[in-house]
């Protein structure tokens, strides 16, 4: 279970408070959505959960399965099962997607006390996970060219998520820049990962992603705090009324 308790976060090198007492719990097996206007602190929350530099926690705590993760390096958090899907996925120039993935998978397995994967074992695992996430190969003529090599960054991000077998998935505006078909494919991937041992936090500005990834709960984040929590119908209300009610409260 993820427990975020009264979290206060400011930018490390600027006197700017972004999160101002955010409290939230995501039990195992549940998918929660965080919706909010631009500048409400959504991405900051995602980065603080993953352990990015540049933020300072001034108050509060984040517990994952009862253990505070705030002092852990990002790679230790990854080993504990935390995975952040980036709004704009990155690639390392000149490093093939599968090479990177294998390095990551083996780093995580090593820290979890599991055996490192051999090349054939790894390739088999890639195929299984890609199939599970209902990713079809883009080109049946070139069976060795798994779609992950095709540069479809968002989808490759979801495959990474499947491969690293996280227990806490944080998706930061994963719908940005996706057309409706891509959105559906990415959502299928996320839904395939829903399981009783996994907590998922979907951060989004728009309701449309939540038609595909149906959340157990929806939280409205504005001005650094959770302003309202409800069921999936809350997302539809927000789609109609917008965030004015909450930003008004903030001002």
């Amino acid at each position: 279970m993820l427990e975020i308790k009264n979290l206060h976060v400011k930018l490390a090198d600027e006197d700017k408070q972004i999160l101002k007492g955010l409290t939230l719990s995501v039990p195992k097996g549940e998918v929660h959505a965080i919706m909010g206007p631009n500048g409400s602190g959504k991405s900051t929350l995602a980065y603080v959960l993953a352990g990015r530099d540049g933020y300072e926690v001034t108050e509060g705590d984040v517990l994952w399965n009862g253990e505070s993760i705030l002092d852990m390096e990002p790679d230790e958090r990854a080993a504990k099962g935390v995975f952040l899907a980036f709004q704009y996925p990155m690639e390392i120039p000149g490093v093939a997607g599968l090479t990177f993935l294998r390095t990551a998978v083996n780093a995580v397995r090593k820290k979890r006390g599991q055996d490192e994967m051999t090349t054939p074992g790894f390739m088999k695992f890639v195929k299984e996970q890609a199939a599970k996430a209902q990713h079809r190969r883009r080109n049946a003529e070139a069976p060795s060219q798994c779609w992950v090599l095709g540069g479809e960054k968002k989808r490759s991000e979801i495959l990474q998520m499947a491969m690293l077998e996280p227990t806490l998935c944080v998706l930061d505006e994963t719908d940005s820049g996706l057309d409706i078909d891509a959105l559906k494919i990415v959502s299928d991937g996320v839904n395939a990962l829903r399981s009783p041992d996994r907590s998922t936090l979907v951060i989004t500005h728009y309701q449309r992603l939540l038609n595909h990834i149906v959340p157990d709960k929806v939280h409205v984040l504005a001005d650094g705090r959770i302003q309202k929590t409800g069921g999936k119908e809350l997302a539809l209300e927000l789609e109609k009324s917008g965030y004015a009610e909450f930003t008004g409260k903030a001002a």
Binding site: D75, M90, A104, V108, Q160
Partner: protein, 445 residues
Amino acid sequence: MNVAIPKTKAEQALTEAFAASASKLPGGTAVKSARNDAIGAFSALGLPHRRIEEWKYTDLRVNFKDVAPPAIDDATAVSAEDVRAALGSVANVDVHAVVFVNGRHRKDLSTPGAMAGLEVQPLAGALTSGSDAVTEGLTTTTGPRSDATIALNTAFMTDGAVVRIGNGATLDKPLMVVFVTAGPRAHLTSVRNVISAGDGSTATLIEAHVALQGAATGGQTNTLSEVTTGKGAALTHIKIAAGTNAAVHLANWNVSLGANAEYRGFQYTSGQALARNQIHTVYTGPGGKLDLSGAYLVRGNEHVDTTLVVDHAVPQCESRELFKDVLDDRGRGIFQGKIIVRPNAQKTDGKQMAQALMLSPDAEFDSKPELEIYADDVVCGHGTTSAELDGDLLFYCKSRGIPENEARALLIESFVGEALDKVEHDDLRAALSQYATVWLNAPRS
């Protein structure tokens, strides 16, 4: 006003060493006379210093302090296994090897037999037995005039490879010329390769400068390769200087490209206290293509200087340069790249890029690109960047479970990889990539 600059200890020692050893250096009367002229020229020039524009960042009056005795007729015991160990991963590349130990050809360590289309002769023999016309070709260079490092090379050169690739020949494996530093005593080692690639020939030449484990440190190496490519020749030339143990490593490449010739030069340098790599290229016919690149891994107090001149003397030639420096600790990387486009060199296409990755706040990168363009219908550009490791990418790697030091190594390899990708020979590229990995994982002092 003419003020005589007092000679440094090293300048004096070099002229004295020449006087003491001249009679033992290979070559007949004509060669001896060329050597005498060269030491005379050096004596007048002195060691280059920071007030000479081309040497602004590498002051040899300050950095070239002690002169080790010249290595002449060295007979240090070295086994083939020693050479393999010194070459590391590069030893596994299938090549035709010609080995020199402390500046002397070692037939016993070289690949026996011949390769079709290739003639290799040790320079010492060529200097001794060649006609005056031959030795004139061996003692002159197309490099810059009034260059002290070239003058010293001509004065002191003991050996090297004289390579002739026949017209239309395609070498079926690379020729690797290996220069090994060995033994308990430091030396001044001076070697020269004279390479001519015949019209329409295709070849890969590797020059590897390495030291045996436990070899003395503190010597000096001075190496020069004089390269002429014929019409339509395709020559790949790779220089590796990896931990030569030398306190000072001075290197010159003087390359002239015939019409429609393609020359791909790559230089790898690591573990080098002070290196000055000079590359001087000139086109002698239209349609020449030049691709120069390099990777330099610098740490501790090391200092690696790459200074190149690309002289577009004729029209319709292309030049590309990509140099990548990884600088850690107090390491210093220098890149000076001058592209000259002569008035008649229309349709010149030149692009140059030098990039440094700064791993430490105390590292220094000095980059001085220069374009001298006298023609009006040309495309020329240059760029230089220096940056730290990308914090976003570092976080990305760590968020995927990769520990900090592995993530850093991955990003450094990605940076260097772009230059290494210029090496088209797969096994060699893999071997050099392995060098970079070994460097990254070396225990830090």
